[in-house]
Amino acid sequence: MKSPVRLERRLEQPKWLNWAIPLISLLGALAVGAIVLLLTGKNPLDVYQRIFERGFLSTRALTGTLRTATPFAFTGLCAAAAFRLGVINIGGEGQLYMGAIGASYVGLIMGNSYPVGIVIIAMVFAGMIFGGMYAGFVGLLRAQFNTNEIITSLMMNYIAGIILNYLIFNSLSYWRDPRSAGFPSGKPLDKRAFWPSYDIGGVGISFGLILAAFVALAVWVLYKRSRFGFEIGVIADSPRAARYIGIRTKTTIVVVTALSGALAGIGGASQVGDFTHYLDAKGLQLNSFGYTGIVVAALARLNPLGAIVVAILLGGLTNAGYSLQGPDFPSGLVGTLQGLILFTAVAGEILMKYRVKRNTAAKKATVAS
């Protein structure tokens, strides 16, 4: 009847666990992955070497990884910001689309008549406003009518996808390039609306990623050091205590959800400004940035600074995954390997909160207090 081990809740979480557990998780994942690889006739060492080489170990690989990580960072921040309040906003996907729509509009309108800096700032704000308002609606529904934000935010992802399709494929909207004869496509931005990228020691870093790092720092300060963040923490911990000290819970929910959406919205703006330079209706939908953001947030344990690190790791893992793929390495196996690594990392969360104890006989139990 009794299992040989049991999980016992930790009363305190020692600080060293913060780095030890992720490390142990990663090693565990690699070990489990190695078994899978051996079973499928691959040399795990070769595979892991390739993952590191193609994900992280060269300037070219790192450049790619940072590019892939950029949208992950924003959607990860989006999820973390809302989850910290206990609002499960899984609408980062749709909010990112809306941000891309807003930013591309501003970029197209202002691109050829304003200085570069102003265009970029305007695009960032447009992304924030579009993504923020789109998410704010979800927050409003939750605050006023107590609707389940998981469902509403998910539904709004689909709606945002339909809006994208409408703008590019089903209408002659402002966003659609009238010259795209063969296949409908977004109107290209003026070069002045392109976001810069910086070369640091041979590694290309997009403006978006640098922005993401600053935004993460701002979010961290907001949550850890500000009065508003303090209130968010109290609401998440105990809504009744929040009512007791007179925190405006409903307003906070709306504001935080909107903020969360605004973060995803910058991600959308970055897609347009940093990479595609037009509203790419299909490309945005094919990448599932928003859903990846949820994974990022969870792995980062909702820490905004951690989200940047995790986004980069995940970016590398994604690129390495494409690199592994080929006739002798089916994409299904790549997915399995990536899934295993993420899954083990999440399992580490359990070790964080519980300790594994051997089930000893009752008589030997020590008596405390």
Binding site: R227, F230, G233, S238, G246, A368
Partner: protein
């Protein structure tokens, strides 16, 4: 002689991580008696009854039922052997009828219910034990007392010979409690046996044949009710003599210097029904006004309206003559209202937050603790350290989460914070409930000390002894109304008990 022993538990030990809940308990139950299990919170009463009903398995010790050793692995096992438990928190399906609830979970119940026959049987059973309850009524329509009867009927229907009632009167009015005692008598008259768990001396004396007192997980002793008295029981329970005397005040209350004035106050409960009906009340400087009443008669709503957590539907609350904005907790806090809520850990505190954060919960917006919207962590830390020291909070550090503290220290954190905001009035709802004796005394001392310092205290408590020993005046609440306000030195338990049970006319006429 042995055949009169229904249950014999010997050397029962049960350990939980860090706690020994039962440490060699001896317990003997005679057939046909009402046997009270008396002890403070945490004395091991609930653990013992959970072992007897199969919810826990003892680490050591033996249980004999009618002379034969038994070992239960589930409550179902125990029930099949004739031991049933009536829990403090009911486990009823609200939308089902009384009869349906009674037969629910009974393995002998046929798949298709013969409703008429079941109703008849339940009715008969209820009548036999003098329990007024309509078998066809839906549970949600019933009063708490009636719901308890359904729980008892469930156990009886399953044929239990030994019934365990866990603090059954906690939720009852005195009149309902009397009805319960009659039912218990009717059951023992038929040869059934009752274990009555309580920490209230009066009712234990009133209802039981014998009493076993537990303290700190051990059996202190078993006595015949007829050969003991409350004073002796109390000293067995707490290990020393406890005097029920009024606390001596250093500074007399100034009832005429009104600090809190509640005028014609009305308010809704959580379901939007009227819970307060024109409550008018004053608390003077340095005065402790006790609110006596059975839980659920509007006390919580009264406290929350005064504290701004709930809107007033009529009337007003003023502190030192200034009317507080209704439904604004921040206005109440700024106006000088401190509030120790009933649910300390999840309303009064953010349990997952640190001691430091919780101590700042009401002052983090002040310029002392934040500037430009950012928190001044160092100031918060210094403030917390000072308060921890001053109020003698036992905590590993100011960064420890409040949920990890013991009940007494939790309450200390709460009180420390409330007093630190410089209040004019303190609303204290059940401030000692669930605390151990030492902590209770310390909390009471703090309250008296604060009143001596000029604070007006509105003390809401179900513990009549507490109110009688602390309050200057006692207001009795019944169904959302203040039915009487009595100076404490003129109050007697019987009168207040009657008022609490709604017998206002009898008491005054």
């Amino acid at each position: 002689m042995t055949n009169t022993i229904a249950v014999h538990m010997s050397g029962v030990v049960k350990r939980f991580p860090g706690v020994v809940a039962n440490d060699g308990v001896e317990f003997e139950l005679r057939r046909g008696e009402v046997h009270a299990l008396l002890g403070e919170n945490g004395a091991g009463k609930s653990t013992l009854s959970n072992i007897l009903t199969g919810l826990y398995r003892p680490d050591e010790g033996t249980i004999e039922l009618n002379g034969a050793p038994v070992s239960f692995s589930s409550p179902r096992d125990a029930l099949n052997a004739g031991i049933g438990m009536v829990h403090q928190h009911f486990r009823l399906v609200e939308t089902f009828s009384v009869a349906e609830n009674v037969v629910l979970g009974n393995p002998d119940t046929a798949f298709l219910l013969d409703t008429a026959a079941i109703n008849e049987r339940v009715k008969e059973l209820a009548a036999r034990y003098d329990m007024a309850v309509d078998p066809e009524a839906r549970v949600w329509q019933l009063s708490v007392g009636e719901q308890q009867r359904v729980e008892i009927l469930k156990v009886l229907y399953r044929g239990a010979q030994v019934l365990i009632l866990d603090e059954p009167t906690a939720v009852l009015t005195p009149i309902e409690a009397d009805a319960l005692f009659r039912t218990l008598r009717a059951m023992t008259a038929e040869g059934r046996t009752v274990i009555f768990i309580s920490h209230k001396l009066d009712e234990v004396m009133a209802v039981s044949d014998r009493i076993t007192v537990l303290r700190g997980g051990r059996t202190v002793g078993t006595v015949d009710t007829s050969s003991t008295n409350k004073r002796d029981l109390a000293s067995m329970m707490v290990g020393r003599n406890v005097e029920f005397t009024r606390v001596q005040r250093k500074t007399p209350a100034q009832a005429n210097d009104v600090v809190l004035h509640v005028e014609n106050l009305g308010g809704h409960d959580d379901r939007g029904r009227d819970a307060l009906h024109g409550v008018t009340l004053t608390v003077g400087r340095g005065e402790i006004v006790g609110i006596a009443g059975v839980a659920g008669n509007g006390q919580r709503e009264l406290a929350e309206v005064i504290a701004g957590m709930r809107h007033a539907t009529t009337g007003s609350v003023s502190v030192e003559g200034k009317v507080l904005q209704s439904g604004k907790a921040r206005a109440a806090i700024a106006g000088g209202v401190a509030h120790v809520p009933e649910d300390r850990l999840h309303t009064g505190l953010a349990a997952g937050h640190s001691v430091e954060d919780n101590l700042a919960l009401k002052s983090y917006r002040s310029s002392l603790l934040s500037r430009f919207g950012l928190l001044r962590r160092q100031a918060m830390r210094d403030g917390a350290t000072a308060l921890v020291e001053r109020y003698d909070v036992k905590t590993p550090s100011t960064q420890t989460a409040v949920r990890l503290l013991s009940g007494g220290n939790v309450q200390k954190v709460l009180l420390a914070r409330e007093f630190s905001t410089g209040p004019k009035v303190l609303i204290a709802a059940s401030p000692t409930r669930g605390l151990d004796v030492g902590a209770i005394e310390s909390v009471r001392e703090r309250l008296v000390e604060a009143a001596d310092g000029g604070l007006g205290v509105l003390l809401i408590s179900e513990d009549l002894d507490e109110i009688m020993s602390l309050a200057d005046r006692i207001a009795v609440m019944y169904e959302g109304r203040i039915v009487a306000v009595i100076p404490a030195d003129k109050a007697d338990r019987e009168t207040i008990g009657l008022l609490m049970g709604g017998s206002q006319l009898e008491a005054t006429s």
